[in-house]
Symmetry: C2
Subunit: 270 residues, 2 copies
């Protein structure tokens, strides 16, 4: 999917909500556990109930790999279900990969070509040749970690490199890479006060913003400095939406939570 198509979908739905699909068997509604494929049934119900309120879904790959073969099968079924039934939806493989060139190339093929995701998250530590193989794939995005929402972000990301925080060096350096127009960045909502600084370096790029809700970030704060003329934000909520209820009404409960965020977004977009 191109950036223009994503923006058009956002304007149409008046939403820049991304829903994280992090299915955890311990948290799934109990009545689903008896079905043959509880994780896929869960994802399918959540997607069917919320697809008109969000523009993107973000399966967190760890939550599938932990179930081995069966988990990988659920991941395939989920992305296929999305691509077949809701082709307008933007999809993000939250994988945080990154390795030497020929290995990154394999990950890029796996997520962007074979599975058919629109984008994949990557880690910057190994530099240019670990990210460029992802960027090389046409009409796909690579979403690189810049400033994350967790406490550990302060261990290295905000440390100063020649008087400039590491995450700023990461942002600046990445702009010089080949096909850098395909880059988006992960910036945590719990670090809202940093958005103004980040927008000085990447005034146009889309930012994927986790940490609204369960992790404590605030939507208004993020939008105040993060929003651009072309929106430029995908705000993710996972647990706050998908685990809104553990009962048979879980999908409706998820839709209610999503609707609340979408309404807030619609007001902001005005």
């Amino acid at each position: 999917m191109t950036t223009a198509e994503l923006i058009s979908q956002i304007n149409q739905k008046k939403s820049f909500l991304c829903i994280g699909l992090d299915p955890d068997l311990d948290k799934l509604p109990t009545h689903l556990l008896a079905s043959e494929n509880p994780i896929f049934e869960f994802n399918k119900a959540i997607i069917d109930a919320t697809h008109h309120l969000c523009v993107a879904y973000k399966p967190n790959i760890a939550f599938y790999e932990v179930y081995g073969l069966k988990g990988w099968q659920c991941l395939e079924k989920t992305i296929n279900y999305l691509n077949e039934n809701y082709p307008e939806i933007y999809t993000i493989a939250d994988a945080k990969r990154g390795d030497i060139g020929n290995t990154s190339n394999m990950y890029a093929r796996a997520f962007l070509e074979d599975l058919g995701f629109d984008s994949v998250t990557v880690a910057p530590y190994m530099g240019k040749d670990s990210v460029e193989p992802f960027l090389a794939i046409k009409d796909k995005h690579t979403i690189m970690l810049a400033l994350t929402s967790n406490e550990g972000a302060f261990d290295f990301q905000t440390q100063k490199v020649d008087n400039k925080e590491l995450y700023k060096l990461v942002l600046e350096t990445s702009k010089t890479w080949e096909n850098s127009q395909n880059l988006m960045y992960v910036v945590g909502a719990t670090k809202a006060e940093y958005f103004a600084e980040i927008r000085k370096i990447v005034p146009e790029a889309f930012l994927l913003v986790p940490g609204v809700g369960a992790q404590g970030g605030n939507l208004q704060d993020v939008c105040k400095y993060g929003l651009t003329e072309n929106i430029g934000l995908l705000v993710n909520s996972s647990r706050g939406i998908i685990y809104a209820s553990k009962n048979e009404d879980f999908a409706n409960a998820a839709a209610l939570q999503a609707k609340e965020l979408q309404t807030e977004m619609e007001a902001i977009l005005k």
Copy 2:
């Protein structure tokens, strides 16, 4: 496996060789492609021919994920084959994972518990709470990227943070994390001149050293500064060994390459 058991295996085999299992269908011996499971057949033949010459195998997870379900199945079959037939062998899931705590916890379970690897590689960018869930698992190791073998290592890893290179800050900081005794570090052989500096910070820790052979690193240089009283090195070779021949003799050819490295290591250990 404990560090002591690994050291004992190294002393017994007079080898600190790790063989990377990066199976690429485009590079596999042609006669294997007709078999039902060419990747597993390839791995099995390589393992059977080389297990007495090395102490560890390191499947690179990207090379399995790129084949989807079938690839994941091959990964499971490979680690099961190793654990059942060669329980003395140390196994490394080269996955370079790292995410917020609850996600890292899922990856840790996937690779160290469910699949049963002895260790997994992780990326440090997200800091303490992204790595500690891996460190929490008993008698397993977490192998964190410090200074990698690729060109992109110079983008961020060698940049100075308060007059100290980032990779040094990563090494120093990680020593303060809970269960840091379970840490090993990735240090590329192409950066041999840095080993002396690294040993000042982590005098005892095991270093996993990729980049000998195909990537141009030199074993003598690495050992000169990297070797400790308890060896402290696992030197990896992937392509130089497993793709030594594309013919029916591929496993023997791999063993010859492995034997050459093992012999060199035996001389160094004296």
